[in-house]
Amino acid sequence: MKKLIAARETWLGLAIIAMIVATDFRSSGFGSPGNLASIFNNSAMLIILALGQMMVILTRSIDLSMASNLALSGMIVALTNAAFPWIPVPVLMVMATGCGLILGAFNGVLVWRLGIPAIVVTLGTLTIFRGLIFVIAGGQWVNADAMSEDFVQYTRIEFLGLPMLSWYAIVIVAALYVLMTRTSTGRAIYASGVNPTASVYAGIDVGMTKFIAFCLSGALSGFCGYLWVSRYVIGSVGVAQGYELTVVAACVIGGISIAGGVGTVAGAVLGALFLGVINSALPVINISPFWQMAISGAAIILAVILNGRSEGGRAKVILKQAEVTS
């Protein structure tokens, strides 16, 4: 089993490398370190969001409000920066994360305390959060002129040849890897997704575990709110509209089971990179943007079929020797 799961991520990694090599063949320079670093940088936010979504999906829920949360948190810090340019950017980052956390906690409470299905809750908050952007910004945009130099630069400054945006993603990946594999919270997230009933009897508070997952996905969305506004130098109602589905797609491609309980940090990261590479490669080999969407969609379905096969094909263990060798 362990080998099988490892294989799933290995195959995804190989597919990504194959795509890079093939594209490099058509258009030399695609596989150069500089271009790969730029692909990674372009995928950084998707990676962070996919990790947040992964935790929620593992607990048998889904967070459709991530992109709206991102846009609202981003708008709040953009407006704050425009009004009080002297506030240091790290404070604004914490502020964005905090906003996201509160919005995520709101989702979490509704799911935990009122027992409303996550898809319904977050479908509602998806619209509510986006609506709030209108309310606080009065339909206005915050553009480059209004933002401070630091605010824009904090995602761009390079460190060891990589922009800070990439470093944020790397640190978050490392932190979540530890969280998921080395802490009791991570263990509770997996256990309550695989078998909620057994988890309750083992003394795990399944509802609170979901709440924590929503808080974390909210906090990561909020943090990405700052990243997005800084990177694209725009704060508006339309920021990241529909992006929640790309995030879910990255998770699914990364082998995270929508039924909950199955999925890894490595899978989510590779799923996001897979989409990042496709989006960079297709324009290079002159494929129209319309095809890009179709190809991304086909990749999702293909991933689900492959995952479904590897799960569904497992036979019951009845033979004695099977038990020992598996």
Binding site: M1, K2, S184, E323, T325, S326
Partner: protein
Amino acid sequence: MSDPKLTLSGISKSFPGVRALNNVSLELYPGEVTALIGENGAGKSTLVKVLTGIYQPDEGDIRIGGQQVHFANPHAASGHRITAIHQETVLFDELSVAENIFLGHAPRTRFRTIDWQKMHADARTILNEIGAGHLHPETPLKQLGIASKHLVAVARAMSIDAEIVIMDEPTAALSHKEIEDLFELVNLLKAQGKAILFISHKFDEIFAIADRYTVFRDGEMVGHGELKDTNQSDLVRMMVGRSVEQVFPKREVSIGEPVLEVNALGYATEFADVSFTLRQGEILGFYGLVGAGRSEVMQALFGISRPDAGAIMLDGKPLSPRSPADAIEAGIVYVPEERGKQGVVVDLPIFQNISLPSMDKTSRNGFLRLAKEFALARQFSERLDLRAASLSQHAGTLSGGNQQKVVIAKWLATQPRVIILDEPTKGIDIGSKAAVHEFMGELVAEGLSVIMVSSELPEIMGMSDRIAVMREGRLISIEENSDQLNAETLVRLAADIKADAA
């Protein structure tokens, strides 16, 4: 005496590992009510499923009016005018009363569309006939109570002109008044010459309504006849009288001080005034009919529901678990009935399954210490002789027996004081049963205390030091398990039969 309307003879039905029905026969007579009596697991439900075409018997034949019939599916059974009214009546909440009555055989217009007018009118007629004139044909079923739903089910039986009506514990959820109404209805069906099979655990009801009886025990028919020729004591004896007693590895353990004291525990509408004491090294059996509130009491002890009355003392200290985590921390663990669903987490490795309830002990500040987890898992899997290539392999790759060991190892690793086993041997084969019983003996020998909820009399009487009997949410009696105690006494207590009521 008229000829039987329905005759079953030599019916056998096996499932992997279980012979649910063994050469049973049953006769139903027109205009008479036959009561089917038996313990849980005696084969009553299987028989109902054979009669309604859900199961096909392996052997034996079914005759209706002397003619041999074969039910390939439920539709075929209803084609022969057999209908069943279940415990949880199988009707459709979202449809109206009339639609429920005529589902599948609604009157049609010339254009093959449903003739609503005729359907409502016919429904009206039938409802009036059965004295249910207060029900409106167009009322959505979900607005009705359980008693009214039974009336709709009966109306449906009338609408297909059923000749054979099976009532499977129809009174389970009814109030006293509603039961009387139901009996009136049964008498009406009798007067119309229907043959009725009436399944109930309640002897007073059986004697009030039935004409004949058939007793099942362990999948066999052990007696039948007319009720006027028998009495409650005879029926109970037939129900429980076992030919072979299984051997139980009950160990002699010296019983120590009280460990768990429960005083006047109550929770909402589930149970009230439950008091008992569990002593060290003791196995306390909880016997009762299904739905007597035993599991509910255990879930309260384990912090799943919060009792609103009474007190729990563990080792002399008051305990009010607010969650299973609290109960585990205090030393009470609960091994639930549905092990597959509630026990093992198949997609986690064995060692993580074992350490799951002990995570507080194997982690520091929220960070897991894998070495400690492995040590814990190794210790308990060796003790239980768990056979696995590696403790990192997923629990789902183990066989059923070894999965069961993982579950037990998981609970033992929490080092409990009290272990509650809910129906520990339900649905497992004889070999595994013996292993579980053996294991319970070991637990008490090590000074743990065990509460065993079981509906199987041999198990209760074979393993328990004392037996608590619950009925309708109340603890009726706690009996010392001695040679003087016999199975009949327990059944009487559980089913509320006065001693020698006959």
